[in-house]
């Protein structure tokens, strides 16, 4: 995308956003909606600045757990995808178990995790890990096992073993899918951490949302939502940059 086109698209997005916020702000005044039901944008911003230290502490706390969970999920998915891609027998034996596990609503596991590991960091990291790993594993594995037949044949006739085909073709081929699945993984990991914080924690933005709504401090809950959205968006963008740099071949970007 050219520079001027880029600026244009940023400006138009900003314009739509400002228009929506203005509409929101005025409808609150005109319709006289109470703050505890739906706060106005200005009151959310005012609350965010008032609680800025408290909010940033809790945001960092949530992020640290979500990212640890995501990192674990990424490493685990990669490590597991190798034997699954290598052996059809292993794949056929384990895939149904993974799909079955994915069918359990992971949020329902939080009370159990809290029972086993207390209210500390572990249940939060584990929840984000458990929610994030399948969306990373599945596309990565699919990319590894769908190496074109002709490519498989030409490598075999060069004398390549199954392991060499995995290393030289399947793994590099799966990297764009792995990296793009991290976007899904990131969002899932944050969901996992926030849910765990709501159920079994006394820290983090999930906890702040729960405690503020129970006090009818709705602007504070909205501040948390806004922060979570902004953070996920920024991290996703950063991930996108890493992605374009490391697997530029997948985007056919000439250097």
């Amino acid at each position: 995308m050219s520079y001027s086109k880029n600026v244009k698209s940023v400006l138009s997005t900003a314009a739509i956003l400002i228009l929506a916020l203005t509409l929101w702000e005025f409808s609150i005044y005109i319709l006289k909606i109470p703050r505890y039901i739906l706060p106005s944008p200005s009151s959310i911003i005012e609350t965010s600045t008032r609680y800025s230290t408290y909010l940033s502490e809790n945001l960092l706390n949530t992020l640290a757990h979500a990212i640890t969970g995501l990192a674990l999920a990424a490493v685990f998915s990669l490590a597991l995808s190798l034997p699954l891609a290598y052996s059809e027998t292993v794949r056929e034996a384990i895939s149904p178990l993974l799909a079955g596990f994915n069918a359990i609503p992971r949020a329902a596991l939080v009370p159990l995790l809290a029972l086993w590991f207390g209210l500390g960091s572990l249940p939060r990291i584990l929840t984000s890990f458990l929610i994030a790993f399948y969306p990373i594993l599945l596309p990565t594995l699919t990319a590894m096992v769908t190496v074109e037949k002709e490519l498989w044949e030409i490598l075999t006739s060069f004398g390549a073993s199954k392991k060499q085909i995995l290393v030289k073709v399947a793994i590099p081929r799966s990297m764009p899918y792995f990296l793009s699945s991290l976007h899904m993984g990131l969002a899932s990991a944050l969901v996992g951490t926030v849910i765990a914080e709501m159920i079994a924690s006394d820290r983090g933005l999930g906890y702040v949302i729960l405690s503020s709504t129970s006090r009818l401090d709705t602007p504070l809950a909205f501040s948390c939502l806004m922060l979570l959205a902004l953070t996920t968006f920024t991290l996703s963008k950063a991930l996108g940059i890493v992605e374009k740099r490391t697997v530029k071949w997948a985007y056919r970007v000439s250097t």
Binding site: E150, T156, S157, K168
Partner: protein, 257 residues
């Protein structure tokens, strides 16, 4: 007779719907001598690709055997160069890295093949594109890279499966001259599978004509033209007589079915 590869009585059956067997090729005998250029022609579905895959070791014959002459191969069946209809290059590797792939697979050091790779690149007219990626190249250029990749480890046997059929007519003729010159330089034993009779007559010493369903070797035609062959010989009377003769052999069998 001294042979490099010998197929005796090779039969391949495909399992169709799990129960019925479909015979792809039946009782094929074929000797390929060292330094010989053999072309196999036949209609699509006549089993000629199956034949090539048997030689490449991708399909195990149900009956008969493929023997590689130990005197030349010395136990290493790996020294086979292969080129298919599509270039099948790895998009995350540049031209040079793609060419080194067979070297890495046999566990040798690509460093010691740099000079050979650069020579091949120059000979195939890819100079200046060493560090380009496949998607930056035209189809003809990608196929040149595939040819370099097939030749990098000086294969004892070169297997070509319709290598130029997806190219336009002009590029195809360029590839013919290129292959002719490469063949002269290094004298590869070559097995070419094609449905293009002109291509077979132009490039090969011997044309094997296959009939289909099941695939059998029907007959063979020796091509007497002296090398180096210029692609302009395809306009000569004698050349066209050979093409016509092979074409009539192919249509004869069609009428029989």
């Amino acid at each position: 007779m001294e042979y490099l590869v010998k197929l005796s009585n090779v039969t391949v059956k495909y399992r169709n719907n799990g129960r019925r067997y479909l015979t792809a090729i039946s009782n094929v005998d074929l000797n390929i001598s060292p330094g010989e250029f053999v072309a196999v022609v036949g209609k699509s579905g006549c089993g000629k690709t199956t034949l090539l895959k048997v030689v490449a070791g991708l399909i195990k014959p149900d009956e008969g055997e493929v023997v590689f002459n130990e005197h030349f191969f010395n136990g290493s069946k790996k020294r086979i160069g292969v080129m298919f209809q599509s270039p099948l290059l790895l998009p995350w590797r540049n031209v040079l890295e793609n060419i080194f792939l067979p070297i890495e697979i046999v566990g040798e050091d690509p460093e010691s093949y740099v000079n050979r790779a650069l020579t091949l690149i120059e000979r195939t007219g890819l100079k200046g594109f060493e560090y380009s990626y496949p998607w930056e190249l035209s189809g003809g250029m990608q196929q040149r890279v595939a040819l370099c990749r097939a030749l990098i480890h000086k294969p004892l046997l070169l297997l070509l499966d319709e290598p130029f059929s997806s190219l336009d007519a002009i590029t195809r003729e360029e590839m013919w001259s290129l292959l002719e010159s490469v063949f002269l330089y290094e004298n590869y034993t070559t097995l070419l599978v094609t449905h293009d009779i002109r291509e077979a007559v132009l490039l090969s010493d011997r044309v094997i004509v296959m009939s289909g369903k099941p695939g059998r070797v029907k007959t063979e035609v020796r091509v007497p033209f002296k090398r180096p062959r210029d692609i302009s010989i395809q306009y000569s009377k004698e050349f066209n007589e050979y093409v016509a003769k092979i074409k009539s052999m192919l249509s004869e069998q069609h009428e029989l079915q």
